[in-house]
């Protein structure tokens, strides 16, 4: 099938999904143990979207993310130590502890970056795509956003402009069913938000967001189209948020039946089942164990890493009296 990932790529996607899952689980433990600050927005169950959609990107391509971006970060190539250390507020984090887990950015990897104003990742990627077009490059900008962000005015404005100017942007709608605690049926009259693409003449596709290979195929087609200068595409990946809005979420509004049904279709299970015949159980389990060990080591190292010391940021503080 066109744009199918190779077995090697599929193993790498599997590995990255396990990295993300282990990171989320460890962060949950650390939060309960009082070793993290502020809310953490876990993406358990959504790993196939972030990992599958970024697997075909080059380092020079850009990704804009959300407040729930760990799979996007790992997918686009950020290392687990830098992510974990940033989340733990350490000097060795990607942003030296200045950003925290929602706002991780690393320009050299094209991750600029996390964005915790819901919807803001959409014009952010559109602006990068404008920059690419003005400069005349063949890079693409990929935007992750959720079904909650799809209801913002800037989503409409950005899609209109991107389509009007044929900007090289790929809109990846990570439909996890909830905007904070509010189900999508209470936020939008339509269940399939990708039908809105027609209003902008943007090709749109719905994919199983728990199947990394399905995500990869659809997004790869969109990326190729963008690189050819034919404009934006919209991929709506249907998935489900398994762990509540954030670590501060008291829960109680997600149905047990829904949770059980989506757990049965866990993206890592789906990936394992589809790879096991070709790769073998032993090798896949080894990949998983190594990924788990990598995350555990990264977190131990991050916990040992020094906390940052404050320095006055001269650019935003021209008057010493501010301090």
């Amino acid at each position: 099938m066109k744009n199918s990932p190779s077995t090697t790529e599929r193993i790498e996607m599997h590995r990255k999904m396990v990295l993300v899952r282990r990171l989320e689980e460890r962060l949950g433990e650390l939060h309960k143990a009082g070793k993290t600050r502020g809310p953490i927005h876990r993406c358990d169950g959504q790993e196939a979207v972030g990992v599958g959609a970024t697997a075909m990107l080059a380092t020079s391509d850009y990704v804009t993310s959300t407040h729930r971006g760990h799979a996007h970060y790992v997918g686009k190539g950020l290392g687990v130590h830098g992510i974990a250390a940033e989340i733990l507020g350490r000097e060795t984090g990607y942003c030296g502890g200045r950003a925290g887990h929602m706002l991780i950015g690393e320009k050299a990897s094209g991750v600029i970056g996390g964005n915790a104003i819901v919807g803001a990742s959409i014009p952010a990627a559109t602006g990068m795509a404008l920059s690419i077009q003005v400069r005349g490059g063949s890079d693409v900008a990929m935007c992750f956003f959720g079904d909650g962000a799809a209801q913002t005015g800037i989503c409409h404005e950005s899609m209109n402009i991107a389509a009007l100017w044929k900007l090289p942007v790929v809109f990846v709608l990570e439909h996890n069913q909830y905007g904070l605690t509010v189900h999508h049926s209470v936020q939008s009259p339509v269940a399939d938000l990708s039908i809105r693409g027609a209003g902008y003449a943007i090709p749109s596709e719905i994919v199983d967001g728990n199947d990394a290979v399905a995500v990869y195929r659809a997004v790869a087609t969109a990326v190729e189209r963008a690189r050819r200068g034919e404009g934006p595409s919209l991929v709506e990946a249907k998935t489900y948020r398994m762990q509540g809005f954030s670590t501060s979420d008291m829960g109680g509004y997600q149905g047990e039946e829904d949770l059980a049904a989506w757990a049965a279709r866990d993206p890592i299970k789906v990936s394992f089942a589809s790879l096991v015949d070709a790769v073998g159980q032993e090798r896949l389990e080894q990949v998983e164990q190594e990924a788990v060990a990598e995350v555990d080591a990264a977190i131990e190292a991050a916990l040992e890493a020094p906390l940052p010391t404050f320095a006055v940021f001269e650019k935003t503080a021209p008057y010493a009296e501010s301090f």
Binding site: A124, L130, I161
Partner: protein, 324 residues
Amino acid sequence: MAKLRYAEALNQALREEMQRDPSVFLFGEDIARYGGVFKVTRGLMDEFGEGRVRDTPISEQTLAAMAVTAAMTGTRPILEIMYADFMPLVLDALINQASIYEYLWNDVSMPFVLRTQGGGGAGAGAQHSKSLDSLVAHIPGLKVVAPVTPADAKGLLKTAIRDSQPVIFLEHKLLYNLRDDVPDDPDFTVEIGKARTVCEGADISIFATSRMVLESHKAAELLAADGISAEVIDLRSLRPLDLSAIKTSIAKTHHAVVVNEGWRFCGYAAELSATIMDHAFDDLDGPVARVTLPDMPVPYSEPLEMAVLPNAAKIADAARATLR
């Protein structure tokens, strides 16, 4: 040196910088085919093409956010927001996006310019006449300039385009037809953060922004008739402020009036007043006087609008009151 209108001086700055640097591009509403509602971008699409001079949909919120990220990824965007009254629409891009990334992320710069124009006096009504300087000057990480003369318009815009940080460039609708000498030299620039002395004086310092500099100059003439020697300082750069010029002038006159066309409460004049107290309190012999728009919408009808706008007479009155 040529005599140019303020709008023509801006146009010349844009043309020179676009010729100099292919990563500079313009976008905004009505700026390309029509040349901008104040004619600042006239002729530029014909010269530089539709790729670098773009008409946009009416989508200010997104356009500003796009300027931020386009600037972070290798271009120098110049966005025109037609009226300063529309600035509330772009505040997320400025406050939650532009102002944070240079601090949070490594190796990021944001060389974009957001041009807009504000101010009253043209009968444009309550949604097209405001000066919202304090909204943008409040934001750390942004530079804010407001030229008054055609030469400063050109020189400051060129500097703003070359700056590695976001610059909010505030024009005034009543300044576009002002005609004066403008240097032809393509290397002519005006440094951001330096005030300009409009006229020297010994008794009181008047610190003003944008069109209020012209009213303050007229006020100095009114005061001269009363035997009061007023020094008028055009701040030019609202952030960063030229603290040295402010302190030097007050050390000489020991009195200060601050003039800004925006609202009074929590306004730019309030910040100026507090800054003067922080830095020059020991040199002051009287309270800092503030002249601003009253805290109300700008009315439409001419006598109503003229009643609320700050002007030379109000500035002179404020100066006399604080000297008393």
